[in-house]
């Protein structure tokens, strides 16, 4: 989520020049660890906290999970000889088999069956994935777990998993680089990184429950978010462990054009702020809440250019309610609104 956070921190300085927001792109796990330790005013993560992470939070604290943007993970590949206007079709099951190492050639019958009009080469597939823990991988492995029973028991889903095969590259940029440098490779990539690096990397369409092959774009990601929200969100101050849009929409056959590998990205902030959280001062608390409020209400257009669709109105309303409940030393910060 680095591209959109850096767009927001930059845009916010135009709106509020005397407030400085620092964004450190250190990974979801580190973000969660640091908000637990109280060294950050606000944490950001692509994956909700696990049960163990919730139990590590300071006693008596309530952490708010605020979805502030959504993103998608696409199967990016590098196959010379296939035109950039041709997008391969994949299903969750075929992707799982590729990443399990069971499908090893590009012209495997399973892939050919999904792509009858494409001439696939008889080359070995090089699997690429993240080497570091990542919310993007959480979402992707979540989708693979839902799609394939063997993946679910053998590997499961988390920010870091024991990948059965393939090479690991550091960061989304690393994965994009590894795919670009290795012909006949495939890897899961956050869509923003493909949009900004169209070069040698192309990405494929994924089949949703309704049976349509969906090529991720702003519209179908936004529709997926809407469908996921319709199925129900946890309360802002509740535990979000195990929640994902992927799970909510996996069996949704009513919505014909939703992109199945979609995720929220979350901002994490304590509901009852005070100086006990590593010396948070009132101006810092006010600034944090104001920044999040701006991001949710006014900053959504900044992400559109780089592949992050705006939040649906229902989520904006939920977020605003959550933000109104944030207090500093007992006093609501957004008082009067």
């Amino acid at each position: 989520m680095f591209p959109i956070m850096s767009a927001w921190t930059f845009a916010y300085t135009q709106v509020q020049p005397n407030i400085q927001v620092n964004y450190a792109s250190i990974g979801s796990g580190a973000g969660i660890a640091q908000i637990t330790a109280g060294t950050l005013n606000c944490g950001a993560s692509d994956a909700p906290l696990s049960a163990a992470q919730y139990s590590a939070l300071p006693a008596g604290s309530t952490l708010l999970t605020i979805p502030e943007s959504s993103s998608a993970v696409v199967p990016a590949y590098n196959i010379p000889g296939i035109a950039s206007t041709t997008h391969l079709n994949f299903t969750g099951n075929v992707l799982a088999e590729i990443f399990l190492g069971n499908i090893t050639l590009w012209n495997d019958p399973a892939i050919v069956a999904l792509n009858p009009h494409v001439s696939l080469p008889a080359q070995a597939i090089t699997v690429v994935h993240r080497s570091d823990g990542s919310g993007t991988m959480y979402t992707f492995t979540n989708y693979l777990s839902d799609s394939n029973a063997v993946w679910k028991t053998k590997v499961g889903y988390a920010t870091s998993v024991n990948w059965p095969t393939g090479i690991g590259c550091k960061g989304n940029e690393g994965v994009a680089g590894c795919i670009a440098n290795n012909q006949y490779s495939i890897g899961p990539l956050e869509i923003a990184y493909q949009i900004t690096n169209p070069g040698a990397i192309n990405y494929g369409a994924v089949q949703n429950k309704a049976g349509n092959y969906i090529l991720a774009n702003l519209t179908n990601i936004a529709e997926a978010v809407n469908a996921g929200v319709k199925a129900g969100l946890p309360a802002s101050n509740a535990h979000w462990t195990g929640f994902s849009i992927v799970n909510n929409i996996f069996n949704d056959s009513a919505d014909a054009h939703i992109y199945p590998i979609t995720t929220f990205t979350y901002l994490l902030v304590y509901q009852n702020l005070s100086a006990s959280y590593a010396g948070t001062t009132q101006p810092q608390a006010i600034g944090t809440v104001n920044f999040i409020s701006w991001v949710v209400n006014h900053g959504q257009s900044a992400g559109v250019k780089i592949g992050y669709p705006p939040l649906p109105a229902s989520v904006v309303a939920i977020d605003n309610t959550a933000l109104a409940s944030v207090t500093y030393n007992g006093t609501p910060i957004l008082s009067g609104s």
Binding site: G29, A52, Q53, G133, T159, N162, G168, K170, C178, N181
Partner: protein, 318 residues
């Protein structure tokens, strides 16, 4: 006069001298204490993992954060293999450069000093730059021009039996070799320069050629010093993080093939330490740090023992 020289009384230290002596002693003790504290801290924070996995941690081959099964063997293997490769490739090269700089360039001082400076500049390049260069330049180059032919012609050997991908043990070994060359060269050159000229002159007087002088008079004299330079290089290779992470492929694989992707202890820490999602996972990561610490200590102690054996009975000490 001779008697006076022998019986030198110990002066009583006072004031500034005493203060200086204490300050210096404190620094020395402090550094030693830091080493001990580091080890103790690592052991303390990995208690949970030590209790859960015991000795099986060192022999386990699976690293699964979801099912909480952790074994360090693939990473120990990766660290040892890449470091050994680095030494195999890097030490002969740095020895060659050191011999050239100290022996052959005596008549051309300017050439020697500028070449020496260039080699030392290699050490000034930050390791993450080596990593980026390795990922975008060296790995594709190795894959196309070195590994694919090796696999095509020598693929029957287990050493080259897996499909080349560029980010593997071999490329990591090459990058580490490049990184240890400056240090090893600088130390070796100084060692060779310290060989007394009398050794060389004696050999020349027996009618030896330049190369024979180097091989039979200079190198044996400098043997333990060069070995010390090798250990310095090994220490850097074992601890190198970013450059290796970018080019090793980050897959916990134990394979006889140099063309296989792999994983090292340092790469694992830099990739996953920030993303530990449970206390047991975090403890296992700290235990990996403890294993790395222990490995570095063992290598150093082993090297010291070897040097002691080599120089036993001779006057030369490292």
């Amino acid at each position: 006069m001779a008697l006076e020289a022998k019986a030198r009384p110990r002066a009583r230290l006072s004031g500034g001298d005493l203060f200086l002596r204490l300050l210096v002693a404190a620094a020395a003790v402090g550094v030693a204490a830091l080493l001990v504290a580091l080890g103790v801290e690592l052991a303390y924070n990995s208690q949970l993992s030590l209790a859960t996995y015991g000795f099986g941690f060192l022999t386990g081959t699976v690293w699964d954060p979801v099912h909480l099964v952790f074994g360090a063997l693939p990473f120990i293997f990766g660290t040892l293999v890449t470091s050994a490769l680095a030494l195999l490739i890097g030490i002969p090269i740095s020895l060659g450069v050191a011999i050239f700089l100290s022996e052959k360039a005596k008549e051309r001082r300017a050439l020697a000093s500028s070449l020496g400076s260039l080699v030392e500049l290699l050490a000034a390049v930050p390791s993450v730059i080596y990593g980026l260069w390795g990922l975008f330049v060296l790995a594709p180059f190795m894959k196309t021009y070195v590994e694919t032919p090796l696999h095509a012609y020598l693929g029957f050997l287990p050493l080259f039996s897996t499909t080349p991908i560029g980010t593997d043990f071999l490329t990591a070994g090459v990058i580490l070799a490049i990184m240890i060359i400056p240090t090893a060269t600088a130390v070796s050159r100084d060692i060779l320069n310290a060989v007394p000229n009398s050794q060389r002159e004696a050999m020349y007087s027996l009618g030896a050629t330049d190369w024979e002088v180097t091989r039979k008079a200079v190198l044996p004299y400098a043997r333990s010093g060069i070995f010390g330079a090798t250990i310095l290089g090994l220490g850097r290779a074992v601890g190198e993080t970013m450059a290796v992470t970018m080019v090793i492929g980050n897959a916990p694989v134990i394979s006889a093939s140099l063309l296989s992707e792999g994983y090292t202890l340092t790469s694992l820490i830099v990739n996953q330490f920030n993303e530990t999602t449970s206390p047991l996972y975090a403890s296992a990561m700290v235990e990996i740090g403890l294993v790395l610490f222990g490995l570095a200590l063992i290598i150093n102690l082993f090297a010291r023992a070897l040097i002691w054996r080599m120089t036993r009975g001779t006057k030369f000490r490292v």
